[in-house]
């Protein structure tokens, strides 16, 4: 009777021993990976590159922790699970940051488009005031050509913006603003010279 008890205890021990081998947290891994991909798709690598880089590093670290756990006799995934939970939370935060940056950048570009359009209109009005007819037709043609380059750039920026290229549109509109501002200065100088004789 006593020996049967010993055998039973031993069998139970072995059963407990092996049942304690935890399962790989595949659901958490898949969820975290999907979240990271979602963050990448949101353009975070472009708009918040540092935060995105930290997120990718954390995901890799979590994957390593999973393998560390797997490598043990008695795997314990609690650390990996914690890291995966952090990755999921980081993904939410990073995506939110990327979206916020996009909104901010879009607002900046849109504001600059309005500003440049206004400058273009101001310049057109100045061209109307500038020395014209035989007095400077060629010079005005050159300035008008310069202005049309700025105007075309605004159209290109609007197209880029519609395609979601916020960084490209931001660079272009800044250049267009510089151009429109310099044309304005040139026209004002020409008008002043005419007025001053």
């Amino acid at each position: 009777m006593k020996s049967k008890l010993i055998i039973a205890i031993a069998a139970m021990g072995v059963a407990v021993l092996f049942s304690s081998c935890a399962k790989v947290p595949q659901t958490e891994i898949d969820a975290a990976q999907a979240a990271v991909q979602d963050v990448k798709d949101s353009g975070a690598d472009l708009y918040v590159p540092e935060a995105y880089s930290a997120l990718v590093d954390s995901m890799k670290s979590a994957n390593e922790s999973v393998e560390v756990a797997k490598a043990k006799w008695f795997p314990n995934y609690s650390k990996a699970k914690e890291q995966l939970a952090v990755v999921s939370q980081m993904s939410i935060d990073t995506k939110a940051k990327a979206e916020a940056r996009k909104v901010e950048l879009k607002a900046e570009v849109e504001a600059m488009i309005i500003e440049v359009k206004a400058l273009v209109e101001e310049n057109k009005a100045l061209i109307a005031k500038a020395p014209r007819g035989k007095e400077g037709k060629a010079a005005l043609e050159a300035i008008s050509s310069d202005l049309s380059v700025a105007e075309t750039t605004v159209t290109e920026v609007e197209a880029l913006l519609a395609n979601g290229d916020l960084i490209g549109s931001n660079d272009k509109i800044k250049a267009a603003k510089e151009k429109a501002t310099s044309i304005k200065a040139e026209l004002e100088a020409a008008i002043a010279a005419k007025g001053g004789k």
Partner: protein, 376 residues
């Protein structure tokens, strides 16, 4: 008999447990001797992050990719090894991948730093070169009567240069390089076309030089002589072979051409004389000095070209070419006259009388001097 059987079982269990315990102990010892690739992978991952921060994925793309592939291979192999029975797992290959990944990541970082620094230098040097080319245009070509396509190209080049500078400021050197190259294509197109026009114009230089020298010689007896340099946009007054006055001058939009007919907005080239001084009230241009365009040479040329059909039958030769005021606008705005600032025509008006020689040339200086050694 029963007791003996029980004893047998008891011993069997003890022996079995002992065997299992020994096996587990040996396995534990074996497993504990195995080095996990954890630390190496951590170092590789960190090296990759640092490399990415240095934009190795852009400036050392090949090496960086190799590093990433090695890290990924290490992870795949580790996962595969972990599916094997614990005693048979081998992490050496994984550690090797991780170490190579780290090494490659470090190499990629170094290369990226070097390449981005070089590219930054190249782009900055290119900005200087391009700015010089734009400046060359502004100095030499801006006032030339160029076709629209040429100044459009020049304007586009300026826009791309601005965009390139903005990209450079953001640290996006590759973008800056692409934009710079676009700017360069446009500026070269503009400068080559304008340069060709200028070279063609200077084919008459020997004639201008002769005219200018004659004019200066004519001033040696003490007479005042007006010499107009169209390219320099300067009107000189010579006396006794020396410049006694110089004023900035403006011409017609088609100033480079020699005047041939009415309405061509060109400024004539050749020897003329002041035929009339117009005080205020007699001209809308403050004060004016009328010259005797067309002279006999102009009339002969006009007639010859008309005969050859180079000038329309109905075209007139034009007249009323003056040196007058209302200038200082900063561009060529007259109908072919020489425009001076009001204060300058006042001064010149006092200085010269009717009959004063006026020589108008394309340029006193040769093209090599005008271009100041700039290559175009």
């Amino acid at each position: 008999m029963v007791l003996s059987k029980n004893k047998k079982i008891k011993w069997l269990v003890i022996i079995s447990f002992s065997v299992v315990a020994i096996a587990i102990s040996i396995s534990a010892i074996i497993v504990s001797q195995k080095v996990l690739p954890t630390e190496d992978l951590k170092l590789a991952r960190e090296a990759l992050t640092i490399a990415k921060e240095a934009e190795a994925n852009i400036y050392s793309e090949k090496i960086y990719k190799e590093s990433v592939q090695m890290y990924d291979s290490a992870m795949i192999n580790w996962s595969r090894e972990n599916t094997r029975f614990i005693l048979f797992r081998d992490y050496d290959r994984i550690i090797d991948f991780a170490k190579r990944s780290k090494k490659k990541a470090e190499e990629a970082k170094e290369e990226a730093i070097k390449k981005s620094a070089n590219l930054s230098k190249d782009v900055q040097a290119a900005f200087v070169t391009l700015a010089k080319k734009i400046e060359l245009y502004n100095t030499l070509f801006k006032d030339l009567p160029l076709p629209k396509s040429v100044f459009d190209a020049h304007n586009k080049s300026k826009m791309f240069l601005s965009e390139s500078k903005i990209a450079h400021e953001r640290g996006k050197l590759k973008d800056a390089e692409v934009l710079f190259k676009k700017a360069e294509i446009y500026v070269n197109h503009a400068n080559i076309a304008a340069g060709k026009m200028l070279r063609n114009y200077f084919e008459d230089y020997s004639k201008w030089k002769r005219l200018a020298n004659d004019a200066i010689d004519a001033s040696r007896g003490g007479n005042k002589v007006i010499l107009v340099d169209k390219v320099a946009h300067i009107l000189y007054v010579y006396q006794s072979g020396k410049v006694i006055r110089s004023y900035s001058a403006e011409f017609g939009p088609n100033w480079m051409a020699h005047k041939e007919r009415a309405g061509d907005k060109a400024t004539p080239e050749g020897n003329y004389r002041i035929t009339k001084k117009k005080e205020r009230g007699n001209t809308i241009y403050h004060k004016a000095l009328l010259i005797d365009y067309p002279n006999s040479e102009d009339r002969d040329n006009f007639a010859a070209k008309k005969r050859k059909g180079l000038i329309s039958r109905n075209a007139g030769i034009g007249s009323l070419i003056e040196i007058h005021g209302n200038g200082g606008k900063g561009f060529n705005w007259t109908s072919g006259c020489v425009g001076l600032k009001d204060k300058d025509i006042d001064d010149l008006f006092r200085l010269v009388g009717s009959g004063t020689r006026v020589t108008i040339v394309g340029s006193i200086e040769p093209l090599s001097v005008i271009s100041e050694g700039l290559d175009f």
